[in-house]
Every structure is written in C-alpha cells, then in structure tokens.
Assembly symmetry: C2
Homo-oligomer: 168 residues x 2
Amino acid sequence: MAERVTAGQGGESLLFLTDEQLRKGIEAMFFAYRGFTADPDRILAKHGYGRAHHRAVHFVNRSPGTTVNNLLDILGVTKQSLNRVLRTLIADGLIESRVGTRDKRERHLYLTEAGVELEQALSEAQRRRMRQAFRDAGPEAVAGFKQVLEAMMDPEPRRQFNRMKDGS
Amino acid sequence: MAERVTAGQGGESLLFLTDEQLRKGIEAMFFAYRGFTADPDRILAKHGYGRAHHRAVHFVNRSPGTTVNNLLDILGVTKQSLNRVLRTLIADGLIESRVGTRDKRERHLYLTEAGVELEQALSEAQRRRMRQAFRDAGPEAVAGFKQVLEAMMDPEPRRQFNRMKDGS
DNA sequence: ACATTAAGTCAGCCTTGTTGACTTTCCAAG
DNA sequence: CTTGGAAAGTCAACAAGGCTGACTTAATGT
C-alpha cells in the first residue's frame, strides 16, 4: 500500500502523519457529525423546525438575555437568516424578546417555558449520544477528543468557545 | 456553580459526566466542524460549488468506479439530491460516468484529471488543518479523538467507516 | 443636530435537501 | 420466450435555510 505523504509546510515536526491518517480523520469528522446531529434532527422534524432553530434555542438557553447581535456573532450567519428563524420561534412562543432597559434598541432573548422544554428534549438526546460515546471511549480519549477539536477551530470561534466555559 | 447531572440510562457507569461537560463536548463539535469545513468552502465557492460537490468528489476519489447507488449509501442523501450535484460535475468535466459492462443499469463514476485536481486542492486544504490540529494536540490526543468520533457514529456509518480503512 | 448603531423587513437569489412520476435495464417465474 | 416486477438512474417541482442588497425605525452618542 503506497503511502504518499504531502509536504508539511513550515518547520518539520516530530509527528509523521500520512495522508491516509489525515484522510481517516476527515472521514471520521464527516460520519461522526452526522451521528451527532441525527437525534435532534428527528425531534426537530416533528415540530417542523430545522437545525437553525436548534442552534438558536441552544445558545439562547446557554446565554439567557443575549442580544440578537450577540447571537449573530456566535452563529456566524446573517441577520436575515437568523431573523427568519427567530421570528418563527417567537411567534410559536418558544422564545421571548424583551426590549433592553439600558439600551432600548437591543432585544434581549429568553426561552419561554415551552422553549426550555424543547431545548431539554433536544439537548438530552444529544447528551445521551455524547455520554455514550464518552463512556465507550474512556476519559483519556475524551481529553484527546476535546484537544483536537479545539485545535481545529478558527481563532475567533475558539475564543468564544473558551469564553463560554465559565458561563455567559 | 450548580452542576446538575441527568440520570444515566441503564447500568450506572464508572464515569461521572456532568451535563456541563457534555454540553462543552456538544459545542466543541459545533465550532470544530465549522472550522473543519471552512477552508474547502472557500475553494468551492470560487468554483460555484457547495459542500455536496465536495463530498461527491471526495468519495469518488476514494472509491473510483463506485456506482451511484453505492455513493448514495455512503452519503446518506436521496438519489435525486445526489443526482443534481453529479450532473453538474459531469457536465463540468470533473467526473466521468461509464455505463456498467456487466449491468448496464449501473453507472460507474471516475474522477477526470480536472476532478483529481479539484479533489487535491480541497483535501490538501482540509489535511493542512487536520495536520495542524493533530500536531498541536499530540498523538495521544489524536487516538482519543478518533475513538470518540467512532463511538459517536451510528452503527451503519461506522461499518462503512471501518470498511473503508483498507481501500474500497 | 447629525452620524452611528441595533434591530427588523422586503425582495430575490442559490444550494441542497425532499417527494413523486418516469424510463431503461435486468432478471426470474410462468 | 415473454412478461412483470425490481433496480438504477433521471426529471420536475417544492421547501428550508443560507446569502446579498436596500431600506425603515428607533435609540444613542458626539
């Protein structure tokens, strides 16, 4: 089996990574991400929602009272795209939008009771899979998993990721 | 900091995983996957293609001569969805579709020279990021990363993933 | 007073999923 | 041998959810 190795740019490292090893990593991400989203997707479909709604609900739950602009930064989508999703969630009574007290231009977003309920259902499904995977793989593997994922992020999302470690 | 822990279904395990730990895993997947797809997305955009084209090119390169049906199984999308992408790739001369010799209903798919070129550009971008992440995290972390991802897949994709380890 | 900012809206586009209906080809049972 | 179903692929039409651009409204800060 011919193992062609592409040149590593910059200072040659200590680790020898074949293209084949890297490709397996790439495919692992592809298949794992599909599994990762499969359970919530089923729940969302019942409600007539998509992944966009899930992301919105997740991060509003994560940072209650967050503003629209804040959410835009986190999700990395356009205002118009988020707005469509947000509008339906507000209309359906899952998210509440309160005018800011200090700055009345801002809208602060909160999950309603129904919103919390959906978020619970979605995240519990996802946690279940994550928990199972973590248990199957063991604590050392979990540490490695997190390390690699963090190293794979772009700098700005990584900052957000770490900032969110300790609450809003 | 209140750490609520949801009940682990089934036999209580040795690992205590808080909801907070699991949620960090979930967010890590979200942000990392975005980084993972960012580089190829930029290249694809220049050619007027999307992720669907990338996936098709990737797996045709991976298993030259594969049939449409085969690809369907791997990608987990509908025939019609794949077909649209495939049609443009064939029209643009990146993929060649040969009628099967044994079974003339089947179409066997191959990358043309131009197809190989695009695949190289895409996968090299992705490999670069993966390589960097792997190096930053170290070999032990990489092993853990793979273990957890594999554990996160649904059984059928996992089978495909492992089957592809040693070539088509 | 005026420029800037946050939020929201409308119109229109693209990609990529979906379902349903269809053709061509193959194979197996009568 | 023929014929009827199954399998592979194709075409048409629709929906979700991205995107850009132009614009309004309201509040803020200079």
